[in-house]
Amino acid sequence: MLKIESDLRSLLPERVDVRHEPMTDRYFRAIDKRKMILRFGTFLGIRETGSRRSRQIAMWLQHPTGRKRCGYYATFRIFYTSRGRPVSATLFCFYDGTDKSPCLKTHASALAYAEDEGFHVQQEA
């Protein structure tokens, strides 16, 4: 597990915020799926933000009923102290196939999407 992934998973749910501009039904679902993604989601990739105090990470969680339905794709911005300790994160992007958002049913499709979005992805071993 990469450090950034363990940084995100180590944060308490109270420290993981959700973007609120504007709050749509899809982002209410992001609120509900937030903890499941943090706990059971698969790491996709990292994107630099241009700041040493924050980095972005893309995660994907398969739909509980399997590959026939859209999974949950989320990107988080993790914020660090000057000593490199993670303090909080913001879920700022969430796709689940609703509201004309991308429908990513498999890990491979989520990985390809994250790569297109500029994340440095890590292929499965």
């Binding site: 209410f28 911005r77 913001t90």
Partner: protein, 175 residues
């Protein structure tokens, strides 16, 4: 709406009667405080989300009615409980839980009551444990009597807030 600047430099914004869409309906949260994250993005803070979810879970679990599929999904998401764990707890197959999740289905009453009690304890045991409530012994044997008592315990412990328009509130108005 009001705003004031806290010590950490972020600007909070208080919204009253905030509509939270989850578990198949819109819940009205009396007060929610939005903040800005260090990058300046307006966010719903994780602590507020936790409080909102506890309040909704308390309203769902505190009412002795069958669980709707959306309510089951919400409780599973809130407690990070996979459906396989729900099936194991009830000693039913995964297929049975999947069947209950289909739109228009409901979880049978007995299983609903067991699940509500189980989920309530998952969410509130840390809060209720601090102050042991005085619950009459005869209430323990009947989930239909116990669940509304558990709801009141969560409200008294301040772990959840009463939601206007919540099921209990609707019942009181009807009475």
């Amino acid at each position: 709406m009001s705003s004031k600047k806290p010590d950490d430099g972020t600007k909070p914004q208080t919204i009253e009667n905030y509509p939270y869409v989850t578990a198949g309906r819109t819940w009205i949260i009396p007060k929610v405080v939005l903040q800005e994250d260090p990058a300046g993005l307006k966010v719903l803070p994780g602590a507020e989300i936790e409080r909102m979810q506890r309040s909704v879970a308390n309203e769902i679990c505190g009412h002795p009615a069958p669980l709707a599929p959306e309510e089951l999904e919400f409780l599973c998401d809130t407690t990070c409980t996979p459906y396989v764990e729900v099936a194991r707890f009830l000693d039913v197959s995964k297929g049975t839980v999947a069947f209950w999740k289909k739109p228009g289905k409901i979880v049978p009453l007995n299983e609903s009551l067991r699940l509500k009690r189980w989920f309530w304890h998952k969410i509130f045991k840390a809060f209720a444990g601090r102050k042991e409530p005085g619950v009459p012994m005869d209430v323990f044997s009947d989930d239909r009597l116990l669940l509304p008592v558990l709801r009141e315990i969560a409200l008294k412990s301040k772990a959840a807030c009463a939601l206007p328009g919540g099921r209990q509130e609707q019942r009181r108005k009807q009475q």
